[in-house]
């Protein structure tokens, strides 16, 4: 019995020492990690809503609308502002791709026009195939499309508006990104009707007023 107690005490001390070392390392590295995450988030948001200078996290505020089944993949909702005026919304949607979630950030300006799409993380997709959905050559197809159009994947050169050519050999990953974009558009439409977003929607429409006139000129 004494033997067991001795062994147990030793293990406890060892585990305690290890735990202390880990807690210390955690405290030392955590600030840096947090800073990195924040700056990565900022630069991702800036890349999908280039006109905005400030972003506010509206994920919590939109929880009620997002509870609908079709919005299950939406992780975050951000509102961009520029000079106090509305500059679009960014949605982080993570549908399942080939091997796991494909975290896609979709920037939408007034009238349901997609500004840009960025794939934030696709770590479970295949290198050389599915991972190529992160490339601008694929993602660029989402910009410059008419407002409110619904995206679909094609395996040839796109003909109609809203058609996006899949990455060769990576239809599944491509479809995931397209689903993300469509989900974001649907959520945008749903939110515009409810005025849940702070400062978004200068009226029933999706703020197609002054805010976007000044900011949305480019594109």
């Amino acid at each position: 019995m004494r033997q067991v107690v001795k062994l147990a005490v030793f293990l406890m001390l060892l585990a305690g020492a290890a735990g202390a070392v880990l807690a210390l390392s955690h405290n030392l590295t955590q600030p840096r990690i947090a800073r990195q995450l924040a700056s990565e988030k900022r630069s991702a948001l800036a890349s999908v809503l280039p006109q905005a200078t400030a972003f506010s996290d509206q994920t919590a505020a939109t929880a009620a609308v997002r509870r609908r089944a079709e919005f299950a993949d939406v992780r975050e909702v951000w509102v961009g502002r520029a000079a106090g005026r509305d500059a679009g919304r960014a949605y982080l949607v993570a549908p399942v791709g080939y091997g796991g979630p494909v975290e896609t950030l979709v920037g939408i300006a007034g009238g349901g026009r997609v500004v840009a799409v960025r794939v934030v993380s696709a770590s479970r997709e295949t290198p050389g195939l599915g991972l190529l959905v992160k490339e601008q050559s694929f993602l660029g197809q989402f910009s410059d499309q008419p407002a409110g159009v619904r995206f679909s994947v094609v395996t040839r050169v796109p003909g109609a508006a809203g058609e996006v050519q899949a990455v060769t050999g990576a239809t599944i990953s491509s479809r995931a990104v397209v689903r993300a974009a469509n989900t974001a558009l649907e959520l945008e439409a749903a939110l515009a009707g409810t005025r849940t977003l702070a400062g978004a929607g200068t009226g029933a429409g999706t703020g197609a007023g002054a805010g976007d006139g000044a900011g949305g000129g480019g594109g």
Partner: protein, 196 residues
């Protein structure tokens, strides 16, 4: 439906051996005979299922509320090691034949990447309890499927005329590679069966 997707996913589409590369050391070690392979798979499946359940509880009820997520690796592996020891004792008591048959391979399940792997993956995927258990079960079953299939292939390899430099591991790896190609044929199954 989600459970079905998880089962299918971990057994066939993202098979733990041929797709995820988890549990390879014992895979190449135990697959010389089909009966050992079967016995080992049963033991591993038992452990992965149990480990998935326990580590889920550990993560959700202790690590997250106390905000010590960084202790995940250490606590998980120690829990798994204890679980394996526990399984050993239980097996020794209730199924001594199988226990003896497995011999040294039983404690080695602790170092089987598949066990720790499925535990960590479950956390990443944010499964509920049912999903986590299904995932653990499927991981073990998929691992077992791979190893039993592979054992049959290796029996034939032993009788084949293999160039001296390739005998043993090299040709086994080539065989595994071909089987991996076969398994990658399941890739499109998800989107076909579970169209969202």
């Amino acid at each position: 439906m989600e459970i079905a997707a998880i089962l299918l996913g971990n057994i066939l589409i993202n098979n733990f051996i041929f797709s995820r590369f988890l549990g390879l050391c014992p895979f190449f070690g135990v697959s010389r005979r089909v009966d050992t392979a079967v016995g080992m798979s049963l033991a591993v499946t038992f452990v992965t299922t149990l480990a998935a359940a326990v580590t889920w509880a550990l993560q959700r009820l202790i690590l997250e509320p106390l905000r010590v997520g960084y202790l995940q690796t250490a606590t998980f592996i120690l829990v798994i090691a204890s679980l394996v020891q526990f399984v050993e004792i239980v097996m020794h008591r209730f199924v001594p034949g199988l226990y003896r048959g497995l011999g040294i391979y039983l404690p080695l399940i602790t170092t089987n990447c598949a066990v720790l792997g499925v535990a960590v993956l479950n956390g990443e995927q944010r499964y509920g309890f049912g999903g986590a258990v299904a995932s653990g079960l499927a991981a073990g079953l998929g691992w077992g499927l791979a190893i039993v299939l592979f054992a049959s292939v290796r029996r034939r390899l032993e009788l084949a005329e293999v160039p001296p430099a390739m005998r043993g591991f090299p040709v086994a790896f080539l065989a595994a590679g071909l089987m991996s190609i076969a398994f990658s044929g399941f890739a499109g199954l998800f989107s076909r069966l579970f169209l969202r």
